[in-house]
C-alpha cells in the first residue's frame, strides 16, 4: 500500500523531470519567430541562425527552377518584404498570396533568406476573419 505522501513525492519528481525535459528542449530547439518587417528592420535580437519568419508569398514573385532544384520567391508583410531562396522542391501546399513560414538564415548584406525549411498552410481552405466580407 502506498501512502499519499509517497504518491505526492513521486509525482513531484516526475513533474520536475518532465518540466526539465520541456525546458531543455525549448532551449535547444526553439527559434525566434518574427514577422518579415521585424526581421528587415532589425527589431529582433537574432539575425543569424534559428529564425522562423512568417509572411505572405508575394503574387508573381515565384521562380521555380527544377534543374537546381531551387525555389525562390519574395515574402512580405504589410511593412516590408524579403527574398527567400530555398534549395529544394516546391511544396504542394505552396501558394502565392498565402501565408508561409520559413526557417533558415537571414543574410543582411544580401537582403535574402537562405531557407532550410518551408512550412505552408495545411491544405483545407481556412476561412479567417475579414475574408468573409467581400463575398456578402
Amino acid at each position: 500500500m502506498i501512502s499519499k505522501k509517497r504518491i505526492v513525492v513521486v509525482g513531484l519528481v516526475f513533474a520536475i523531470g518532465i518540466g526539465y525535459l520541456i525546458v531543455s528542449a525549448v532551449r535547444e530547439t526553439g527559434a525566434y519567430y518574427v514577422e518579415v518587417s521585424e526581421l528587415v528592420h532589425g527589431r529582433t535580437e537574432s539575425s543569424g541562425e534559428g529564425l522562423r519568419i512568417q509572411g505572405l508569398v508575394v503574387e508573381g514573385s515565384t521562380v521555380w527552377d527544377p534543374s537546381g532544384p531551387q525555389l525562390s520567391f519574395v515574402m512580405a508583410d504589410s511593412a516590408a518584404s524579403v527574398a527567400v531562396i530555398y534549395d529544394g522542391f516546391r511544396p504542394d501546399t505552396y501558394r502565392e498570396g498565402e501565408k508561409i513560414i520559413v526557417e533558415g538564415r537571414y543574410d543582411r548584406e544580401a537582403g535574402a533568406i537562405q531557407a532550410t525549411k518551408l512550412m505552408t498552410t495545411c491544405p483545407s481552405k481556412y476561412v479567417e476573419s475579414g475574408e468573409d466580407e467581400d463575398h456578402e
Partner: protein
C-alpha cells in the same frame, strides 16, 4: 430546399435552448414531464439539423452556386463523389457535421439500453450536458458559420475543391476523426451526470465505456488515415510533421488513451474516481480544442487564435465548460474520494497510474509545444516557437517509457503483487525481449539506448502477450479438458476487452518499429537528371526512361517513367507525376512508391526545367509500412474490445477489495 434547410438551422438553437432549460428544471424540480419534453426537444434538434444537412448535400449535389459554401468549395468539373465530400472541406460544413453528429449521438444515448439500467433521471442528466454542447454548436452554425448562406449573384462556376483533398483517403479522414471528437462528448456527459445526481460515481466509466472506446477507435483511425494521406498525397516524404493541426488530434488521443486505462483501474479497484472525471473532461476539452484548431484559420502558428472569427467563441465555451466541471467537482468532492490501495510501487495499479502520468505528460508537452509562441510572448516578451525537433526530443523518451511499461504491465497479473507473483512464463518473455534487443543492436548497429529500448520494448510486448495468452489458454484447457485450440479460442472470445487490448499493444509495437526504421534509417537523394540518366540510392539504381503527358478526369498529368533496378534485376517501374488542375495555380505532386514489408522506395517528381532537366527526389524508408499495418491492428483490436459486454454490477466485489477484505 435550401431555404427550408436555412429555416431549420435557424430554429434549431431555440429547441436546444428549450431542451437545456427543460432538462435543468426537470432535474431540479423532479418533474418527469419537463424531462420528457426536454428530451423530445433534443430529438427535434436532430431532425432540424438533419434537414439542414440534407439541404447542404442537395445544394452540393445539384451544384447550386447560389449557396456561398458550394461556390467556395466545388466546381462544375469536380466528380460528384468529391462534390459531396466538400460537405466537410470547409469550416462551416465541418461544424455542421459536428452538430449533426452530436445531435445524432444524443438520440442514440436517449434510446439505448443504458436508459433502462440507469433510469430516466440519469439519462436526462446525460442529455443535459450533450444538450449544452448542441446549443453551442447550433448557435455557432446558425449565426456565425452558416454553410447555407446564399449569395445574391451566383457565379457561373465554383472556385473548386483543393486538389489535395481530392483523394479517397481525404474523404474519410475528416468524418472519422469527427466521429471520435464528437463521441467523447458522451463519456464526458456521463461523468457530469454522475456528479450532478451523485449516482453511479463508481459505474459511469463502464457505462460510457462503449462510447469512449468507440471514440478512441475513431480518433485512432482518423489519425492513421491522416498520416497515410500525408505520406501518399502531400508528397514531402513524411507522415507526421508535428503541425498544429496534427497535434490537435493527438492531444485528445493521448488524454483519451490515459482515460481508457484509468477507467480500467476504477472498474477493478474503485480508485481514481476524481482522476477519471478529470480525464473525461480533459478529453472533451481536447476534442473541442482540436475542432477549433483544425477549423479556425490557425495554420503553422497559433497567432491567429484571437484573429480567427471563431476563436473567442471556442475559447469562451472551453473556459465556461472547464469552470462548470470544476465547480461541480468541488461540490461533489466527497463522493469522489477513493483510496488507491496497491501492493506497492511495482504493482499493476501503480504501473497504470504511471501510464496515466506518462500519457498526460505527452499531452501536456504536445500542448505546450503547439501553443508555445503564445506563452513565450506573454511571459518572456519574445516570440519563440518550437517545431518538430522539440517534439522529437520531449516525446520520444516519454513514449519509449510507455512502450516499455506496456510490456511490463502485461507480465504483471492484476492484483498479483510484487516480483514474487510474476509467473515463470513472464520471465521467459522478458528474457526473449532482452535477447531481441541485444540481437537487433548487434545486427543493425542500434547503438543508441533509445533504439535499443524501442526494439527490446516492442519485442517484450509481443513476447509477453504470447506468454500471457498461452498461460491463460493452458489454464482453461486444464479446467475444461478440451483441446488447446478450442481453449485458446474460448479464452480469447470470453475476454474480448483484454485480448483486444493485447492486439492494440502489438499494433503499437509494430508502429514503434516502423517509426524507428523510417526515421532513423531513412535515406534521401535529391537530383536533377535528363532522360536516360541514372540516380543511385541505397541498393537501388533508378533510371529516368521518359516523360509523358496525359489527361485524367479534371486534371492534366505530366508523368516520369522510372525503372528501378536492384543489383542487375529490374524490380519496379515507378511513375511519379505532377497533376495540373485548372482550378489550382500550382501543380500537385503525385508520388510513386514501391512498398514492401522491408521498406519503401518513395519517388517524387518536382518538375521539368526548360532544358529538360527533371527534378527528382528519392527516399528509402525502411519498415515504414509497419506503421500502417500496426495502425490497422490497433483499430482492429479496439473494435474487438468494443464487442465485449458492459460489465456492471460487481460493486460488492469491488467494495470488498476497497476495504481490504478481498
Amino acid at each position: 430546399m435550401n431555404s427550408v434547410g436555412l429555416v431549420a438551422l435557424y430554429i434549431a438553437p431555440f429547441f436546444a435552448i428549450y431542451s437545456v432549460f427543460a432538462l435543468a428544471v426537470g432535474l431540479a424540480r423532479r418533474s418527469r414531464a419537463a424531462l420528457a419534453s426536454g428530451r423530445w426537444a433534443l430529438v427535434a434538434v436532430f431532425v432540424l439539423v438533419s434537414v439542414a444537412a440534407g439541404a447542404l448535400i442537395w445544394a452540393l449535389a445539384s451544384r447550386d452556386f447560389g449557396v456561398r459554401y458550394v461556390a467556395q468549395y466545388t466546381s462544375r468539373d469536380l466528380p460528384l463523389f468529391y462534390t459531396i465530400s466538400a460537405f466537410w472541406a470547409g469550416q462551416e460544413g465541418s461544424l455542421l457535421l459536428w452538430l449533426w453528429l452530436v445531435s445524432l449521438f444524443a438520440c442514440i444515448v436517449l434510446t439505448s439500453g443504458v436508459r433502462r439500467r440507469v433510469g430516466v433521471r440519469f439519462i436526462s442528466a446525460v442529455a443535459l450536458t450533450i444538450g449544452v454542447a448542441e446549443l453551442f454548436f447550433a448557435s455557432l452554425v446558425a449565426r456565425i458559420a452558416n454553410p447555407l448562406i446564399t449569395i445574391p449573384h451566383p457565379p457561373l462556376d465554383g472556385q473548386g475543391l483543393n486538389p489535395l483533398l481530392q483523394d479517397p483517403g481525404m474523404i474519410f479522414h475528416p468524418p472519422i476523426l469527427y466521429l471520435g471528437y464528437v463521441g467523447y462528448v458522451v463519456p464526458f456527459a456521463f461523468a457530469v451526470a454522475a456528479l450532478l445526481l451523485r449516482r453511479e460515481i463508481d459505474e459511469w466509466p463502464e457505462m460510457g465505456r462503449r462510447w469512449s472506446l468507440f471514440s478512441w477507435v475513431a480518433l485512432t483511425a482518423g489519425i492513421a488515415l491522416g498520416m497515410k494521406w500525408s505520406y501518399v498525397e502531400l508528397g514531402w516524404g513524411g507522415y507526421w510533421a508535428w503541425d498544429p493541426v496534427e497535434n490537435a488530434s493527438l492531444i485528445p488521443w493521448f488524454v483519451g488513451t490515459a482515460f481508457l486505462h484509468s477507467a480500467a483501474v476504477q472498474r477493478r479497484t474503485g480508485a481514481l474516481k476524481g482522476w477519471n472525471v478529470a480525464l473525461a473532461a480533459l478529453t472533451f476539452e481536447g476534442c473541442i480544442f482540436g475542432t477549433f484548431l483544425t477549423r479556425s484559420g490557425v495554420l503553422s502558428s497559433v497567432h491567429a487564435f484571437a484573429g480567427s472569427s471563431l476563436g473567442p467563441y471556442f475559447i469562451g465555451f472551453m473556459l465556461l465548460s472547464v469552470s462548470a466541471v470544476l465547480a461541480i467537482g468541488m461540490w461533489r468532492a466527497d463522493a469522489l474520494r477513493g483510496e488507491l490501495r496497491t501492493g506497492g510501487l511495482f504493482s499493476w495499479e501503480s504501473l497504470l497510474v504511471l501510464n496515466n502520468w506518462l500519457f498526460s505528460a505527452l499531452a501536456f508537452a504536445t500542448l505546450v509545444g503547439t501553443t508555445f509562441p503564445l506563452f513565450s510572448q506573454a511571459f518572456a516578451g519574445s516570440k519563440i516557437s518550437v517545431s518538430a525537433p522539440f517534439f522529437d526530443r520531449v516525446n520520444t523518451p516519454i513514449a519509449l517509457l510507455l512502450l516499455l511499461l506496456t510490456g511490463v504491465c502485461t507480465l504483471i497479473p492484476w492484483r498479483r503483487t510484487g516480483l514474487a507473483g510474476i509467473p515463470r512464463s513472464s520471465l521467459w518473455a522478458a528474457g526473449f525481449s532482452l535477447a531481441a534487443g541485444v540481437g537487433a543492436a548487434l545486427v543493425f548497429d542500434v547503438r543508441s539506448p533509445y533504439r535499443f529500448i524501442c526494439v527490446a520494448g516492442s519485442a517484450l510486448i509481443v513476447a509477453s502477450v504470447l506468454a500471457e495468452s498461452a498461460r491463460a489458454a493452458m489454464v482453461r484447457c486444464r479446467k475444461t479438458g478440451g483441446t488447446l485450440l478450442t481453449a485458446s479460442v474460448q479464452t480469447i472470445w470470453r475476454d474480448r476487452r483484454r485480448f483486444g487490448g493485447y492486439l492494440v499493444h502489438i499494433g503499437v509495437a509494430s508502429i514503434f518499429i516502423g517509426i524507428l526504421g523510417s526515421s532513423v534509417f531513412e535515406y534521401e537523394v535529391q537530383k536533377s537528371i535528363v532522360v536516360g540518366e541514372e540516380v543511385g540510392i541505397g541498393e537501388y539504381r533508378v533510371r529516368l526512361e521518359e516523360i509523358v503527358t496525359t489527361e485524367r478526369l479534371n486534371a492534366q498529368l505530366i508523368t516520369t517513367r522510372l525503372s528501378v533496378k536492384r543489383g542487375e534485376r529490374h524490380v519496379a517501374t515507378l511513375e511519379p507525376a505532377q497533376a495540373f488542375y485548372p482550378t489550382a495555380d500550382s501543380p500537385m505532386t503525385e508520388v510513386a512508391i514501391r512498398s514492401t514489408l522491408a521498406g519503401d522506395l518513395y519517388t517524387i517528381f518536382g518538375g521539368v526545367s526548360e532544358d529538360g532537366h527533371v527534378a527528382l527526389k528519392l527516399h528509402t524508408k525502411p519498415l515504414v509500412s509497419w506503421i500502417w499495418y500496426g495502425s490497422w491492428l490497433v483499430v482492429l483490436g479496439g473494435v474487438f474490445a468494443l464487442t465485449d459486454r458492459v460489465r456492471l454490477g460487481n460493486r460488492r466485489r469491488r467494495e470488498s477489495i476497497a476495504s481490504g477484505v478481498g
